[in-house]
Symmetry: C2
Subunit: 241 residues, 2 copies
């Protein structure tokens, strides 16, 4: 329907890259696309750390589950919610509200998605890295993130050296509702989706992974989810009230 929609619908995370660097023009266009996203109350409560130093990149990778594509991508950017900048310029600013955590997380993610779409529209590929939240205290020390700043996600970008299939998403009817949240989602559609995901993993892994969607989320959600996060948020001055 439009070139942009084709790009977005074709999205799949790329985790293997060639060694080719991005051009300065590409980087500038990706940054400008990111910054053009909407910003709540025009606060622009985000900062992005571009990790270009190879040694620092290796150290960051070690703090992010040692995912090799963090080291191998042409670009690695750490997207942060940032109210430190505001506190520098508006010392009387009142921060620490849970609402501001939402603003920071939502607005920074709007930027991140624009960055990825921009890159993909240029024939590049990328993957978001939630593992920047694996060891956030240590990552803050390494990247000198002061109080008021929290790393939310990373973004690897580069020229793809793989061509995976897009992953099947929940049927739209299980994600989009009309005029209210349903008392119960349709079980039959859920089961059909479970089978579709299972088939996708079987094909993609040559039978090594044989997992339905509910099976997968069950495994993920049976575990603690970064149980240090609330303490970390508090330490950085977020979500205190």
């Amino acid at each position: 329907m439009s070139a942009a929609i084709e790009v977005m619908r074709h999205h799949r995370s790329i985790r293997k890259f060639t060694e080719q660097a991005l051009s300065a023009d590409q980087i500038e266009a990706i940054m400008a696309s990111a910054q053009a996203a909407s910003s709540s109350s025009f606060l622009q409560a985000s900062a992005v750390i571009r990790v270009t130093d190879p040694e620092l990149r290796t150290q960051v990778m070690a703090l992010c589950g040692n995912q090799p594509y963090i080291g191998g991508a042409a670009e690695f950017w750490v997207f942060c919610a940032d109210f430190h900048r505001h506190l520098q310029w508006v010392p009387e600013a009142r921060t620490g509200f849970a609402e501001q955590l939402l603003i920071g997380a939502i607005d920074t993610a709007l930027m991140g998605q624009n960055a990825l779409t921009a890159a993909e529209s240029l024939g590049l590929g990328g993957v978001f890295i939630g593992a920047v939240r694996n060891q956030p205290f240590e990552l803050c020390a390494l990247l000198e993130l002061p109080k008021g700043v929290i790393p939310l996600f990373g973004l690897c970008l580069g020229y793809p050296a793989q061509d995976p299939e897009p992953k099947p998403r929940l049927p739209a009817s299980l994600m989009f509702c009309e005029n209210g949240y349903p008392a119960r989602f349709d079980e039959g559609q859920m089961q059909a989706y479970d089978e579709q995901v299972q088939q996708y993993y079987r094909t993609r892994t040559g039978g090594n992974k044989d997992m339905s969607w509910t099976g997968q989320i069950g495994e993920t959600l049976a575990k603690e989810a970064r149980p240090f996060m609330l303490e970390f948020l508090h330490r950085q001055g977020f979500c205190l009230r």
Copy 2:
């Protein structure tokens, strides 16, 4: 550089719409673009409520600062973080972690930005509505959002009946850093940006608004930021630990 980048860089929030409805094809393409965004651990922890009932739309608008474009847009969608779906299908799921609030907020915002970019690439316009967080307890009751679901932002979509200028963003050098967060951002660049924003408001409002960026964020951040939000998050089962 690419059609998608042109669309994103041209973004400006649209708050006046014609009465023309979106076609079913457009709505489907926007939904599919949204769903194609990345999802942390493939949790797909989002739900979107499309408010099509005119009376309900009016009630929602009343809870969102009575912003008239919520009533006047062809489409109004409420983007929510959603772990309720998971709890239905995986009753042993462990929720309430602050980390899961971040997952829900980030992933839902990735979807939201794709939705807006998709719409804009079709010649439509839109605006995100943070005011869905104005009266979240009441909005949950109205849209029957159960525990595990929180409204994050709304999105108005429609055919533009205005053509505002894009708003000047922070210079990239004040948003993007290399290899670490700077001890202090450049004051001169900040002042130049302040003047640019002031000029933008003067021109756009015929002199009625005469505000620099630091002036504006100072006003915003001097006030409490939805101080009920933490209580609301807790009530919905978020950010408990």
